[in-house]
């Protein structure tokens, strides 16, 4: 396993803590951006679904430990979101920024759909239409907006990792 993962694990742990303790301060249109999910999916879009899968597993496990949702729900949602985004983009020739942002928005909706199904299967009451209209759609837009900044940072990181790998 690449030594980079020894750095990524603590970074994703910090990101998870930030998602829980810091990001809720920055509500946009009444919803909190899903920083961890956007980072994970962005990595998947840049490096492919296999690389994104590892990040999704690590990030999802961190958030599952912090969440009251049934354990594994967030991990499953994040894995599906990042893998599907990575596969879709891999099949699009020369994806433009709007296409990438659309992929982020669709991944967000898929992510929340998985969470809601997990809640329903665990016996939680889910207001499907209200949740979709009041939470999922707004947060999909907010995450797509956040992705503009996150993608730039991920691209820089991608370049850094690429140079390290060439040196080896």
């Amino acid at each position: 396993m690449s030594a980079m993962y020894y750095v990524i694990v603590p970074v994703l742990i910090l990101l998870g803590l930030a998602q829980s303790a810091l990001v809720p301060y920055f509500r946009v249109f009444g919803v909190t951006p899903d920083l961890m999910m956007v980072v994970v999916v962005s990595w998947s879009l840049l490096r492919g679904w296999k690389a994104g899968l590892i990040w999704a597993l690590i990030g999802g496990l961190v958030l599952d430990l912090l969440s009251a949702l049934p354990f594994g729900t967030i991990t499953l949602g994040m894995v599906l979101a990042s893998v599907s985004a990575g596969i879709i983009i891999a099949n699009v020739y020369h994806p433009s920024l709007p296409v990438v942002l659309l992929a982020i928005a669709i991944s967000t909706m898929g992510y929340y759909l998985v969470l809601m199904v997990g809640m329903a299967l665990s016996g939680w009451s889910v207001a499907w239409m209200d949740t979709l209209s009041q939470v999922v759609l707004p947060v999909a837009g907010v995450n797509a907006g956040l992705a503009i900044v996150v993608l730039a940072a991920m691209r820089w990181l991608y370049g850094l990792i690429g140079r390290e790998e060439l040196r080896r």
Binding site: S125, A127, T131
Partner: protein, 287 residues
């Protein structure tokens, strides 16, 4: 010989002047002489004085600068300490105000026993997704907290303890979509159920149809029905009423009495045991 003569002449002149001056001083006639001398040398004296003063100021400024710098550093340090102290005192004042209000509330509710706890909702326990509304408080099983205990502030109902850890507890807020609180309209005593919405709003549902059941501005309290929460805890105030003749019930949108974005200290009601639904035992037939 010339040198000696010159020297002797100076000696004689000076001694003479000295003698003259002594005589004039004794006779009281030295004043005018002195006045004349000062008048003659006054401008020079004044010029020299000004030069001396300037030089003195320059030297003094350098010394003062050093002293001022040291004094300034002391004052800056003192100001920093005072700022920190001021902030601490303001926080104490704010906390004191909150605690005083909580104490007034606790004293006005003699039937309940309370346990105070700080809210750390935005530090550790905030749910990392948009589907659940919950906070983490700094009281746990070691403090006698149990799952199901109601959580309140002096403003009203906050939620219910959901999970308990040794030193922390997770509280589900009443704005959570999976929260349901039996409630009543204070004015008309009509009962309903307050539920949280995905966007954090509160809705009072299952209000019976009819005139004057609920109106904008009505205060909503817990009814105690079902045993989930104590009675007469403030929930919120009606903002909008939705009534349609073809529906079985009418419903209302509430403004919560508690500002969930500014929760700092909450109270956990520790002597309230929520009723849990039990399946009644079916008696076996006698042989």
């Amino acid at each position: 010989m010339k040198k000696l003569r010159g020297y002797n002449i100076w000696l004689i002149v000076l001694c003479s002047l000295l003698a003259i001056g002594l005589v004039l001083d004794q006779t009281g006639h030295l004043g005018p002489v002195e006045g004349g001398i000062f008048r003659a040398f006054g401008p020079i004296q004044k010029g020299l004085g000004e030069i001396g003063q300037s030089l003195s100021e320059v030297v003094g400024t350098a010394r003062d600068l050093r002293d001022l710098r040291a004094r300034n550093e002391q004052l800056v340090e003192l100001v920093n300490e005072l700022v920190v102290e001021n902030v601490r005192l303001k926080e104490m004042e704010a906390e004191n105000e909150i605690l005083r209000r909580l104490l007034d509330f606790a004293q006005s509710s003699p039937g309940h026993t309370f346990k105070a706890a700080d809210v750390r909702s935005y530090v550790v326990g905030r749910e990392p997704n948009n589907l659940i509304q919950s906070i983490l408080i700094s009281a746990g099983s070691q403090d006698g907290i149990e799952a199901g205990m109601p959580v309140v502030t002096e403003r009203g109902l906050v939620g219910r303890v959901e999970e308990v850890y040794p030193t922390l507890s997770k509280v589900r807020l009443i704005t959570d979509p999976n929260s349901a609180v039996s409630a009543l309209v204070q004015r008309t005593r009509s009962t309903g159920v307050v539920k949280g919405q995905p966007n954090g709003q509160l809705v009072l549902e299952y209000l019976p149809q009819g005139e004057d059941v609920v109106a904008v501005g009505d205060v909503i309290l817990t009814s105690g029905l079902g045993g989930g929460f104590p009675r007469q805890l403030m929930i919120g105030q009606v903002m909008e009423v939705y009534q349609r003749d073809y529906e079985m019930f009418q419903w209302a949108v509430l403004r919560p009495s508690v500002d969930f974005s500014r929760l700092e200290i909450v109270l956990v009601i520790t002597n309230f045991v929520p009723l849990r639904a039990e399946t009644p035992a079916i008696p076996s037939a006698q042989p």
